[in-house]
Amino acid sequence: MSMPFYVSPEQLMKDRADFARKGIGRGRSVVAVQYADGVLFVSENPSQALHKVSEIYDRIAFAAVGRYNEFENLRIAGVRLADMRGYAYDRRDVTGRGLANAYAQTLGTIFSSGGEKPYEVEIFVAEIGDAPADDQIYRLTYDGQVADEHGYAVMGGQADTVGEYLREHYTEGASLDDALTVAVAALGHTSADNGGSEDRVIPTEDLEVAVLDRTRTQPRKFARLRPTRLDALLGDRGPATHAAQPEQLGEPAEAPAPVGDEPPIAPPG
């Protein structure tokens, strides 16, 4: 048996962070945008069954990128936590802040414990209030950090490019169709290596779009927008092209993992 060798804590954490970031970077981006009536989520996800954006509770939604089985577990845990709290207390006592805190503690503990591989996920927890000023978007990273986002937020593979596009084009208090148009254009925007940029029109059947809409009369404010509705909202955008490489949600590590990419687990003992 080989002797365990010394790894400095800084190096260990850095390795684990690099590992998680690499896993997240392979997935496509998810955009969350605040608009006049709530929060809009858009991602390019051709699968109709494996969702990246889901309902947690009346006014709370969940979006994630990264490894599907891991964020699906977190989503189910969130639904269980929310339903249990709502049943034991009252529906109004389920808050996005409480949920974000539980996720942060869970992700943080897994990240810093030596025994498990860190989760390769990044999460948005969004909650809408009675007015746009009360809307919240929390971003949770693989290491359990929580950030409070305002206006718009992007996570996943091309987060920088998409974020930059949104920074230039996002307007506060936009209507649903304006916010959707900007978000979809941002996801189709790619910067080339030579400094130029390319804008692709993503077909509506490849889009996963959901809203937390405070104008809904039902107590449950989450709704998915289907392709027919999206066509009506987006209008004519010219010929659409599918993504070059379809993302496999069930198995995000589509690229064969290079040698030496194993999860950095501390040597036993």
């Binding site: 889901s54 309902e55 577990n73 189910i76 639904v79 269980r80 339903d83 249990m84 709502g86 049943y87």
Partner: protein
């Protein structure tokens, strides 16, 4: 909760049933897990009374009176006993009011929980079977006098029609055709609907028929409340169609109830049904 982390059991894949999850994680939250000392407890708590449901082409209507009784006392005049279970179905409850309301809350959460975890809704039969399981687990309490007997109705999107299910205290589930009623006034309400009901009614006519039936139940059963015209308290009416369920606003029900009362002013026994067979 002292540890802010999500407990390990929450992160385990497994059941999409909320009540199964509660049974494993927090059994004390389940209404049926409460230990009740030996003896009859039926007189301790208020009882809800009459619920009526009737189908029409394209949907189903459920209505309940507003009275809860405790022995000879009227415990509450404006209790609500008809609740939306999810977007397309509703559950009405007769029996021990406190337990029943708690069971409805559990049932609502159960349906919503399944929908969120699985990403699709349960079938109408699936929903009615889940409710049967909840009733069955309450049998011990029912034998001590704390029975809960629900009536479940909803629009079945797969079959394209309204459906009604009744239950007994052992969790027996029976599909009813056309109309049904549960609770202390149910005999009178069912007799009334038998004469008034027609299978080509519109939604509005069906609502009027069930309000007539509740009036007849209140007429002959002391535990069923009639329309309270001085306090303006009227039955809760839920209408479910392919577009979803909706509770009729109070003034809508008030209009119908006022019409029913006006009719009874001239004919206290209500509308007459033709004697000849098949007459329309």
């Amino acid at each position: 909760m002292t540890d802010p982390r999500l407990p390990a059991a929450f992160l385990q894949p497994g059941t999409s049933s909320f009540s199964d999850f509660l049974a494993a994680q927090a059994p004390d939250l389940l209404p049926s897990r409460r230990a009740v000392p030996q003896g009859h407890a039926g007189d301790l708590a208020p009882h809800g009374t009459t619920i009526v449901a009737a189908t029409f082409p394209g949907g189903v209507v459920m209505a309940g009176d507003r009275r809860a009784t405790m022995g000879n006392i009227i415990a509450q005049r404006d209790i609500e006993k008809v609740f939306p279970a999810d977007e397309f179905s509703a559950v009405g409850i007769a029996g021990t009011a406190g337990l029943a309301v708690e069971m409805v809350r559990l049932f609502q959460t159960e349906l919503e929980h399944y929908e969120k975890i699985e990403g699709s809704t349960l079938s109408m039969d699936g929903k009615s079977n889940r409710l049967a399981a909840l009733i069955r687990s309450n049998l011990g309490m029912a034998m001590q006098g704390l029975a809960v007997v629900p009536l479940f109705a909803g629009y079945d999107l797969n079959h394209g029609q309204g459906r009604i299910f009744s239950y007994d205290v052992t969790g027996g589930r029976y599909e009813e055709t056309a109309f049904h009623s549960v609770g202390s006034g149910s005999l009178f309400a069912r007799g009334s609907l038998k004469k008034l009901y027609r299978d080509d009614f519109s939604a509005d006519q069906t609502v009027q028929a069930v309000v007539e039936a509740l009036y007849d139940a209140a007429d002959d059963d002391s535990a069923t409340g009639g329309p309270d015209i001085t306090r303006r308290i009227f039955p809760v009416v839920q209408v479910m169609t392919a577009d979803g369920g909706r509770r009729l606003a109070d003034d809508e029900v008030a209009t119908i109830a006022d019409r029913v009362i006006a009719g009874r002013m001239t004919r206290p026994d209500g509308p007459t049904a033709p004697l000849e067979q098949g007459a329309r």
